[in-house]
Amino acid sequence: MTIEAPWARATVPAARVAGAYLTVRNASAVPDRLIGASSPVAARVEFHVHTADGEVMRMRQAQALDIPANGSLELKPGAAHLMFVDIRKPFKQGDLVPVTLKFEKAGEVAVQARVGGLADRSAAHGAQH
């Protein structure tokens, strides 16, 4: 199980939530599930997926995210993201945000998400693994 390019977007001062993204690659023949996440910088970390209800973008919390065998799970803007709820302070570009991902089979994996700009649409070069 490898985690690629975890990154987050900077937040405005008034924001109490922040979004982060990453790609999980599962090289094993056994499917796995992302069943939790936590971070010292937020009260809790949730998984949110976007579902289109006609023309309205609805954000819905998912309890777990599936990772297929020999496959990957991509959290990216407009699709799915980690939502940091009740962040202790704003995310500033250049910060490294620690987050622990909990997998059903692979167990806990700690990563650091690099905070990019407010307007970023993808991870900047040199994002940490």
Binding site: R9, T11, V12, P13, A14, A15, R16, V17, A18, G19, A43, H48, H50, A52, G54, E55, V56, M57, R58, M59, P77, G78, H81, M83, V85, D86, G117, L118, A119, D120, R121
Partner: protein, 214 residues
């Protein structure tokens, strides 16, 4: 709170087909030429100046409704809008990007100023009173629903909302509705150019045409 239903897409395309003599463009996104809504707004920009849609006549206008605390859909749309303007190169000055907040309680003028200019220095944020906001979202058929705070803190609420980009032509007529579905910067750029070519822009009338790409 009673939810307001957004017009079904089929009825939007029906309205477009009943346009007032303007040929329906071959837009990537939904043609809303001829609709009798999305006709204007009367709000305050992030510099404190009162603005209406008429103020932007002569430019192609992109309008997005959102809120600055939105973690994903709003920054994505705004970033796509900013990138679209950058890809228009020196001719990008015939486009105006606008962000109308559906959350004026948290989105002060200062918050809007810092936010919109991060996506493009020419973008303007607009806000209003709760009544002005409700009137504007009704005029643009934008749905927004503030969800209850999850943990009792009144500041911790999320807002469901329409996540489309509207394009208004240089004569102030709504022309394109760009849904989040399948939206890319390239497709936005193509539709902006098509709207520009349909006329009404100051520079267009002087005979300049937009460059293709950088």
């Amino acid at each position: 709170m009673k939810r307001r239903r957004f017009l079904a897409l089929s009825s939007v395309t029906l309205l477009a087909a009943c346009g007032r003599g303007e040929p329906a463009g071959k837009f990537n996104a939904t043609d809303i030429t001829g609709v009798d809504w999305a006709r204007g707004f009367d709000l305050t920009d992030h510099t404190g100046k009162r603005r209406t849609l008429e103020d932007f006549r002569g430019k192609v206008v992109m309008v997005f409704f959102g809120f600055t605390s939105c973690p994903d859909a709003c920054p994505l749309a705004m970033a796509e809008m900013g990138e679209a303007v950058r890809r228009l190169g020196p001719d990008g000055d015939w486009v105006q990007g606008l962000f109308i907040t559906v959350d004026p309680a948290r989105d002060t003028a200062q918050a809007l100023s810092n936010y919109v200019t991060a996506f493009h220095p020419t973008f303007l944020g607009l806000r209003g009173t709760p009544e002005e906001t409700a009137r504007t979202t009704k005029e643009w058929k934008v749905y927004f629903q503030a969800n209850k705070p999850q943990d009792g803190d009144p500041k911790h609420y999320l807002v469901d909302h329409t996540a489309a980009i509207f394009v208004v032509d240089a004569r102030g007529q709504p022309r394109v509705y760009i849904s989040h579905n399948g939206r890319t910067v390239e497709r936005i750029v193509e539709d902006l150019k098509r709207v520009y070519r349909s006329g009404g822009s100051r520079s267009n009338e002087q005979g300049r045409a937009p460059e293709s790409g950088r």
